[in-house]
């Protein structure tokens, strides 16, 4: 793996206006994404996890500008994507593709598989009609389907097969980056592993870079090199996959991990149970957005937003337990288990 950066995101924000009243005036906003920054290296897989509604899809869609960011910068191969014109952005999508969550909804029911897969090539003017049809058949085989499937319609396939079609579509233009938004969460558990394995094989074969979004840590565990945990529009913790699972720093990550069923019966760990609901992103809590549910909450937590900081090399966390304010507060603070061993 090279260490070259493919994508860099700086302070990305999306506020969806809430309109009300007869005149449709803006009466508030949903702060779906509230200042997210991260980098993706060439050839790596970055996992993004978090409970439903925390802004993962919005983040993913903003990277391709399917949703226009409210603020922030996106650099793809050092090019500022947010500055591109609409038509240049469309051209750039050849290099950045997306796999969608719902394999039933993301394929047009009135198009044959061939038409669906050919479309990206046509849009970008790649190949002659004959070459395109050839490529469609090749890719069907590559994703584990058969070339004779080309003439069928999406409703003739199972969920797993449709997701393979969705993946094939994303591969048609030989992109550099694929953003997969919960690519397996709509599938049967028995099929999930197959599709994830396929994605890993494809990554090797085509030197792909992935951003894989999931709502539970289990799914991205094996496929990701690094994982970012999001909470209420912000990045709570970001580090290598191994570290995240062995030594989570953020109380929210710890809670998420203790919610993942652990196959090893000898594995013992105090589990932190997440109490209460996720607060509304239209009216997020002050300071650290997690303070309403955090067992380690301190005074400073309700007042100041903890920044995402590099606590150890390559391990970023946004929590006052690891800031000067938190320590300086001199409170009788109780470091979470993993933190204590420091």
């Amino acid at each position: 793996m090279t260490t070259e950066t493919l994508l860099r995101v700086e302070n990305l924000k999306k506020h969806f206006p809430i309109r009300g009243g007869v005149l449709g005036k803006e009466i508030g906003s949903v702060k779906a994404v509230e200042g997210v920054s991260f980098e993706v290296k060439k050839g790596e897989t970055l996992g993004i996890v978090g409970e439903s509604g925390c802004g993962k899809s919005t983040t993913g869609r903003m990277l391709l500008r399917l949703i226009e960011p409210t603020d922030g910068k996106i650099y793809f191969e050092d090019q500022d994507v947010t500055e591109l014109s609409t038509s240049d952005m469309r051209k750039l999508r050849r290099d950045m593709q997306m796999v969608f969550q719902d394999p039933f909804a993301s394929l047009n029911p009135r198009h044959t598989v061939e038409k669906i897969l050919e479309e990206p090539l046509k849009v970008h003017g790649i190949g002659t009609p004959k070459e395109r049809k050839q490529k469609v058949r090749e890719l069907l085989e590559i994703v584990g389907l058969s070339s004779y499937h080309a003439k069928r319609y999406p409703h003739q396939f199972s969920g797993g097969q449709r997701q393979r079609i969705g993946i094939a579509r994303a591969l048609m233009t030989q992109p550099k980056l694929i953003i997969a938004d919960e690519p397996v969460s709509a599938l049967d558990v028995s099929i999930q592993a197959q599709v994830l394995n396929l994605m890993q094989d494809l990554q090797k074969e085509f030197q792909l870079t992935y951003i894989v979004i999931a709502h539970d840590l289990g799914v991205v565990r094996h496929i990701s090199d690094r994982v970012g945990v999001m909470y209420l529009g912000r990045m709570a913790e970001l580090t290598e996959s191994e570290k995240m699972y062995d030594k989570p720093l953020h109380p929210y990550t710890q809670a998420l991990l203790s919610a993942v069923p652990i196959p090893d019966p000898l594995y013992e760990k105090d589990s932190i149970v997440l109490e209460g609901d996720i607060p509304s992103p239209s009216n997020p809590p002050s300071g650290c957005a997690f303070h309403t549910r955090c067992p380690y909450k301190m005074d400073v937590c309700t007042q100041k937003v903890p920044e995402l900081r590099e606590h150890e090399p390559g391990h970023y966390v946004a929590c006052h337990l690891y800031t000067e304010e938190g320590s300086a507060a001199g409170q009788n603070k109780q470091l979470p288990e993993e933190g204590k061993h420091e």
Binding site: L107, P120, Y148
Partner: protein, 298 residues
Amino acid sequence: MGEPAQKLDPVNKSPQEETISPWKEAWRKFRKNKIALVGTSIVFFFILIAIFAPLIAPQGINEQDLPNRLQPPSSDFWFGTDDFGRDIFSRVVFGARLSLTVGFLAVVGSAIVGSMLGIIAGYYGKWVDTIISRIFDIMLAFPSILLAIAVVSILGPSLRNALIAIAIINIPNFGRLIRSRVLSVKEEEYIMAAKAIGMSDSRILFSHVLPNSMTPIIVQGSLAIATAILEAAALGFLGLGAQIPEPEWGAMLAASRALLVQAPWTLFFPGLAIMLAVLGFNLMGDGLRDALDPKMKT
């Protein structure tokens, strides 16, 4: 390359498995629907009558035969004769041409105009949508037959103007239907997927939004023909549509309304024709809806 999908995915199909297009699937469903087939048969029956009217009708539409006036149905005059001695069977047969033509043309007209307005409103949204939607609301606020009467009184009574009036009053039905359909199709994930591969908005409109918004037009269209036939008859009955001696069913009813007791057949057969034609298109439309678009509510 992972496990071959064929082994584990249950819905695997052999190469021989045929391609089932959404149309084919709909046709399979439609074919199983007995009532819809009855409706379709009635519709085709009327279409054949309309096409071959000159061969079927024993007489012309205006062959007066005063000695034979007000004859009850018999082997000579299947549906009897009216007070001018005209053969009612012949007139009802030719009337199918008028009613079907008016129903079909009016609906095609309102479907084209209504869909275009609906697409523009749904796709562009904002103030364009507001203006078009308000116009539809205003038109729908009046009972449609009143609106038709108003249009005909401006244009003058004739069958052609009745057709135009019926086309106009049906525009908002199609417009609203297509608008809401476009709005919901726009939110589908495959539209997002089309954007994600780099497709332009106008291309998405033509290759994804429009084709997926079309089925309601077919369903609504066949139901609207039924209504249009009824509206044409109503206008004819009021003297605002077809003019004497055109054998339009509604006008025939109006001309004979004084004869209800004396010669009921003069009313019965044109009335029966209206009822059957309307029933046929309605049953066919319901069947089409169940087959093409089960979610659709009209």
